[in-house]
Structure formats: structure tokens, C-alpha cells
Amino acid sequence: MSTLPTYFSLSKILNRVKTIIDENVAGKEFWLKVEIANINFHRSGHIYLELAENQNGNTIAKCRAMIWSYNVPQIRQVLGKDYNNILKKGNEILCYTNIKFDTTYGLSLLITNVNLEFAVGQIEKKRQETIDRLKKEGLIDLNKRIQVPLVITSIAVIASKNTSGYQDFIKNIQDNQYGYKYNVEIFSSAVQGSGAEIEILNRLKTINQKKYDCVVIIRGGGSKMDLDIFNSYEISKQVSQMQSAVFSGIGHETDITVLDFASNKAFKTPTEVSNYIVNKTYDFEKRIINNYELIFERYNKLIDRKFSDLKLFTEGIANASNSFTRLRRGALHTLMNRIVSSTNLLINQENNKLSLINQENLQQSKRLVNNQKESIFKHSEMLGILIEKVINNERAYLTNALVLISSSSPKTILNRGFTIPRVDGSLYTGQELSKDTIIKLEFKDSVIVTKYVKKEKQWKINPFQS
């Protein structure tokens, strides 16, 4: 054997280190701000972590750490719904720890508590930074602006095969109760662990060479999964540059990843994504069927209405035509009645006229006859009067004549006292007489005989001269 240097067994050394550590720091608890470089939830309930401190991209300190299973409930209680999000790779946490050295396992930190406020702040800070950046670059809404077709038929799926989420999705899509057929292309990729981000990025780039109705990013399975990959700036950036709408269904209950912000639509589970796609198709089909049924109903109503319109028209025409002829018939009847009564009136008028003419004829004739009668009567009367007058005239003349005659007779003269002188038997008419000529004077009832003496002057008296 040669001259070998003095050596110690590893156990001796490490036991010595342990003694030093135990003496100086063991059991002393302190708050440590550190990044979780890796984390493993062991079946035993213990949690094994790798803590690190990075500076300018370089790891400047690194250490293993553990949370014993009996400490987990307390920490779970403290972290509540954020438990899974806080205890995940890449997160910076503020944890209450003590140092433990084990000769077998080396130096490790025992974590007994985790500060919630710090943890949440850290996760949120990081995620917010990413979101802010995407917003600032105008990328956050880009995918949302892509119009999802009414019916999704072609689907590109990024998923890890053989995970329950993937299987649920495929089953829901392909064996949907409505029998819809979808064109599903699978782009298999790890969705957790190192390299998953790159893989997902590559898949997205491949998919983007074609237009799909949607790109689905799903992650299904275990309850404790690392979601942090979906807060990746790179993935969200790629999503915003896709020509197809991206749906996220990365299976988490509470927290929202950056991807959820950047994607077109975010779903809690892969099943929800598939339900959405199938329901969308169903809604579309329902609407189509509904609209068609409404159209058909309208059509039937329209036809019915047109039939009844037609019936109304035709009946209306029949009625109008009937009332039309009825009206005309009435008018005709009235017209004829008027003609008949006018005719009768005319005939009656003529009859009356004739009757009047005849009456007047009679009257005029009678008048004529009566006039003549009167005239004849008058003539006859006049005849009597005139005759009387003629006779009376004659009579008056005769009476006058008689008076004259009687007054002229010699007897009348003598009766008045006159005498008639006679000479020699003849009437003395004044001739010269010789003296003593015998004159006989005849008186009324005697004759005196005398002798002429002389003649004397006397005035003449003529009784017949008026």
C-alpha cells in the first residue's frame, strides 16, 4: 500500500459539518425570499423543491428544500385557493425556513410556512408584467378580434396525448350526441415541464401555416399541475399572431393565465371547450331549423291567407255581380213602372181633354143656338112693337084727319054761329052787288032773306090759318 494521505470517511466529515451546522444554525428559523426552481409533489405528501437565486440570468445560489407532509395542511390553509399557483416552478416565495443538514441528503431547507401576501404579489406581479407588456405591444386583443365562424368544423388541437383532458375533449367532440362531424388535427405537445414552452411555440407556428376554424390549447389531468407555462410571454405573443382563433382550456379552477387573456376565448376545462364547440354547432343548427320552420310556417300561413283571400275575392265578385244585377233589375222595374204610369197619365190626359172638348162643344153649340134664339125672340118682339107703332101712327093720322074733316063740314060752321051768304043760290064770294040784290043768309036752322045796302071795310079773318 502506498503512502496514502490521511482521509476521512464521508460520514465523519459530514457528521462534523452537521455538528457545526447544528450547533450554529440548526433550529433557528428565518424568512427567506427565494425562487422555486423546481417543485415536486411526492406521493408521500412531502413536497420537494429546488430553490434558487438568479442574477442577470445566472444562478448565483441554489438549494434543495422540503415541506414535510405534516406541514402541508397548515401551508394549504394559509395559501388557500392560491396554493397551487404559489407553489410552482418559477415563482418567488417568501418562506419561513430552518436549515437542516443530513449526511445522506446534504443541506436542505425545511419550509414550515409560506407568506401569502408576498407570494400572491409576486405571481401577480409577474403575470401583470407580462400582460402589460403584451398590451403595450398591442398584442393582447389581436386574437380576440378574429371572428370565430358560426360553425366550427376544422379544429387544431395542441394537447398532450393520453392525458384525461385530451381524451375528454376528443370524446366530446367526436362522439357528440348530435352526430356532428369535426375535422380535428392533433398537434401533440408536452404542456408542462421543461421544454413544453418551446414545443407549444413550435406547434403553434406549424398550425399557423393553415387556417383553422379554431386552435384549441388544452391541458387536462392531475390536479396539481404547473400552469406557469401559460403565463409565458412567448406563447401569448405567438397566440396573438395566429390567423385562427385560439381557445384555451387548460384545466384550472381559479387562476387566470396570461394565455387566457391573449386567447380568443378562455375555458376552464377541455370539456368546456368541446361543449362550447358542439353547442355552437347545435345553436347554429337549431337556428337554421328554427328559421326554416318559421319560414315554412309563414309559407303555410301565406298560402292559407292567399287561398282565403282568393275565396273572398271570388265571393266578393259573385256578390258584387249579384247585387249589381239586382240593382239594375230594380232600376229597370222602376223605369218600366214610370213608363207605364206616364203612358196611363198621357191617355187619361187625352181622355180628359176629349171629354172637355166634347163638353165645350156642346156648350158652345148650345150657346150659339141660344144666342140665335134670343135674337129671334127679340126680332119677334120688335116685330110686334113696330107693327103697333105703324098702326098707331096711322090711327093718329086718321084721328087728326077726322078732326079736320069734322071741323070743315058746313054744319059745323053754321053751328058755331057763322052764316053762309048766297046770291042767286050760289055762295057769295065778295063780288060787287047791285043795290037791293037779294041775299039769302043761311043759319044753323033758318034762312034769312035780305037786301044788299053797301060795302064796308073789314079785317079779314081766316080760321084755317094758324
Binding site: F377, I387, I391, Y397, L404, I405, S406, S408, S409, L427
Partner: protein, 69 residues
């Protein structure tokens, strides 16, 4: 002086003769000697006329009565 017998005289002739007698009487153209004769003739004439007149009157009256006026 007319010499026609009275019975042959018409009323007209009698009347005319009477007239002429009266005319003569009025004009004192009848001498006392003839006066009586003339007057007698006139009286006869007058009588004749009056008779004729009365007769005519009666007949006319009859005719007119018959007319029934």
C-alpha cells in the same frame, strides 16, 4: 076729286085721297058748296081707313099671338 068707289080703294089710296082732301081743306080750296060733299067723302075715306086699320091690327095681332111671343 077721286071717283073710285070706296070699296075698291086700298088703304093707301083712301089714305092718299084723304090726305089730299085735308090739304085742300087746309088751304081753303074747297068751296062751301062742295065742302059738304068733300067732307062726306073724307069721312067715308077716314072710316074706310079706320076699318082697314082695325082689321089689319086684328089680323096682325092674331099672327103675332100665334107666334107665341
Amino acid at each position: 076729286m077721286e071717283n073710285k068707289p070706296l070699296s075698291e080703294l086700298t088703304y093707301e089710296e083712301a089714305s092718299k085721297e084723304l090726305e089730299s082732301i085735308l090739304e085742300k081743306l087746309r088751304n081753303d080750296e074747297v068751296s062751301i058748296d062742295k065742302l059738304e060733299k068733300v067732307v062726306t067723302r073724307a069721312a067715308a075715306l077716314s072710316k074706310l081707313c079706320q076699318d082697314k086699320l082695325r082689321n089689319t091690327e086684328q089680323k096682325v095681332q092674331d099672327i103675332i099671338d100665334k107666334l107665341g111671343l
